[in-house]
């Protein structure tokens, strides 16, 4: 259900733009995060917040690949399958995950826990192959590290604590940010905790204007 608190946040998002309609995409992100997918109720809430017709909102929903009108698994695993990851073995990782999870790409497991997807280039070509779990990057993935991740996801039962160890690294000449799965403990990273606090503050309307 879209409650009053969400309505307030929708209005806050709209206030950031010179034209209310420009808040379309962020408002849709918000209602999708709230409800897990874009519901008819979510479409109406966004339409009211930005002063558009529900049909207009729906036409936008169907254009952008990140919006879904169907529920997905609690863990959405996206494996990048574009050219740079392809050259470094992403197809093996994807095939391995299909086997491990017992689902094909594009499917959701029957218990509603996992959705497995192939993604277009995730801008991680120098750390290929790369994948995301609920938006968090995991790079230089191998079939072994993918297993570690699934083990963790299965045992934790929830992605709230899931983090990737993210750090900028430099070998003195070239540079990359690298997020790796720590086999011993994939869920430890202080930086992300701070980020989460910030995100919450932002969602609560702390965007100073």
């Amino acid at each position: 259900m879209i409650g009053e608190e969400v309505q307030v946040r929708l209005r806050e998002i709209v206030s950031r733009y010179p034209s209310a309609r420009s808040a379309m995409l962020p408002c849709l992100h918000l209602v999708q995060e709230e409800q897990g997918y874009i519901t008819p109720e979510g479409i109406i809430a966004v339409a009211e917040a930005i002063g558009a017709k529900p049909d207009e909102v729906e036409s936008v929903v169907t254009f952008y690949s990140m919006y879904t009108e169907e529920p997905k698994g609690r863990c959405v695993i996206k494996v990048c399958t574009s050219i740079a990851c392809y050259l470094r073995g992403c197809d093996d990782v994807l095939a391995h995950l299909e086997q491990r999870l017992g689902i094909r790409k594009g499917e959701t497991s029957s218990d509603g826990r996992f959705t497995l997807e192939a993604a277009e280039c995730l801008a991680a070509c120098g750390m290929a192959p790369a994948m995301q779990v609920n938006g968090r990057f995991f790079e230089n993935v191998t079939t072994e590290s993918a297993d570690t991740l699934v083990d963790y996801l299965v045992s934790a039962g929830d992605t709230a604590a899931l983090t990737s160890a993210w750090q900028p690294v430099s070998d003195g000449r070239g540079m990359a940010t690298v997020s790796r799965l720590d086999a011993a403990n994939p869920a430890v990273e202080a930086v992300e905790a701070a980020d989460t606090a910030d995100t919450t503050a932002q969602q609560n309307g702390a965007h100073e204007r």
């Binding site: 050219i83 392809y86 991680a124 070509c125 938006g135 070998d171 070239g174 100073e208």
Partner: protein, 453 residues
């Protein structure tokens, strides 16, 4: 000895040494994503200098003089682009920073700037807005990059709190708001007019040009759209001066770029180097050469939307003009290396699937053509193709190229046309031997030679 690639003679006299770091100086400094650390390392000093020592028009001139060109792909002169804003239009002006990084092979804006040093982009955005007399700027971050978006949003909040955004910035009388906007999954929105449509809350369909965004852009107002790396370079131009920046690179391609090296190299990653660095230097000296001691088969020099270069072109300097002269484009500087064990048909198929999936569907040649291209390539790759499929591929490309609103369709043809030219025999082998010449995935050969299934 070729230590200082891309720099014209007299390397010793270069003001900042042979390989300056205009963008990545603070890479790896702990906490550089927070405003206090960024300021401790000289952050926002360029902003102060710009606001106190320059008039807006003088800043535009300075950027023109620096020779800075767009880093998103087209390489248009930044200062000139800014200069196209009409002087007599009473509508508000807008700046849109294109942070919709999604060109396969490109990972500089997310990795090197937004996630690690977001304040560099905020500072560049403020200076660029001041120069172009903009009072509301947008940073359009690709939807699939939530950490980048969070980092940018936090940096913007910190800048507001520090009085670097909002009203009367640093007492200059200049006002600016920045809105960090998140996309929702559409490669096409990296095309500037589609980005504007998206930012207006619509489906991301490209607009017909002209009119160009400088005249009719966001909300039909004059609008500047620049890539993240372009905007993030502006503070360095202000700090060091246009002449120092222009001392690097080549005559027409000035300064440094973030080269994104990926594929079959030992050390993939981002390398900030002067424009004009030879491709071979990037791959061998910086990238550690081809993985496993193999040979280069082909290189995509500027993201997957640019034609292949062949091994004999490895000495091509990576600047806009030299790469164009070699028959390709520097594009987004996403350098993808393919080794000699790569099936070119398989690689091209994968690259083409991307354009099929990302075609927005507005223009028929691109929407239908990319679909057919994939079907033909699938058939060839699997060893079921006909020899006539090869010219048919080229013919479809010919019917896509130049026949759509935006360059996505053109981009889809690049790898196909160039690979047929460079690797015709490999395509033919897929037809005659029903399988691949090379690599561990040479399954057609295995089938033909073995079980005869």
């Amino acid at each position: 000895m070729s230590e200082t690639p891309g720099t014209t003679p007299a390397n010793n006299s270069l003001p900042l040494g042979p390989t300056p770091r205009f963008l990545t100086r603070n890479f790896g400094v702990p906490g550089i994503d927070r405003i206090e650390v960024y300021r401790q390392h000289g952050g926002y000093e360029s902003l102060a200098k710009a606001l106190t020592q320059f008039e807006p028009d003088a800043l535009v001139e300075e950027v023109k003089k620096s020779g800075l060109r767009g880093r998103g792909g087209a390489g248009f002169a930044t200062g000139m682009k800014w200069g196209f804003l009409p002087k007599d239009n009473p509508k508000p002006r807008y700046l849109c920073v294109n942070a919709d990084e999604s060109e396969p092979g490109t990972f500089k804006d997310r990795v090197m700037i937004m996630e690690v040093c977001p304040h560099l982009l905020v500072e560049g955005t403020i200076i660029s807005s001041f120069a172009t007399k903009v009072h509301h700027a947008f940073i359009y971050v690709r939807g699939e990059l939530p950490l980048a978006e969070r980092q940018m949003a936090r940096a913007v909040r910190e800048a507001y709190d520090a009085g670097l955004l909002g009203k009367n910035i640093l007492g200059s009388g200049f006002d600016l708001d920045i809105t960090v906007h998140r996309g929702a999954g559409a490669y096409i929105c990296g095309e500037e007019s589609a980005l504007l449509e998206s930012l207006e809350g619509k489906r991301g369909y490209p607009r017909l040009k002209p009119p160009f965004p400088a005249v009719v852009g966001l909300y039909s107002s004059p609008t500047v759209i620049n890539n993240v790396e372009t905007i993030a370079t502006v503070p360095a131009v202000v700090e060091h001066g246009a002449d120092v920046y222009a001392a690097y690179g080549t005559e027409k391609s000035k300064g440094t770029r973030l080269y994104c090296l990926s594929g079959h190299v030992e050390r993939p990653g981002n390398y900030e180097l002067p424009l004009g660095v030879p491709l071979r230097t990037l791959i061998e000296d910086y990238g550690g050469g081809v993985r496993g001691g193999r040979q280069v088969k082909a290189v995509v020099p500027g993201g997957s939307s640019t034609p292949f270069l062949k091994p004999s072109q490895l000495d091509t300097p990576l600047d806009y003009e030299s790469v164009a002269a070699a028959g390709s484009m520097l594009g987004s500087a996403g350098v993808i290396v393919l080794d000699d064990q790569t099936c070119i048909v398989g690689a091209v198929l994968r690259m083409t699937e991307f354009y099929r999936d990302e075609s927005c569907g507005k223009c028929t040649p691109c929407r239908e053509g990319t679909f057919w291209l994939v079907q033909l390539l699938e058939r060839l790759e699997a060893g079921h193709g006909k020899e006539s499929d090869i010219p048919l591929l080229a013919d479809i490309c010919d019917n896509i190229f130049g026949r759509s609103f935006c360059p996505l369709g053109d981009a889809a043809t690049m790898s196909i046309v160039s690979s047929i030219k460079l690797f015709y025999n490999e395509y033919l082998h897929h037809v005659t031997a029903h399988g691949c010449l090379v690599g561990p995935r040479a399954r057609g050969v295995a089938v033909g030679a073995g079980a005869n299934v």
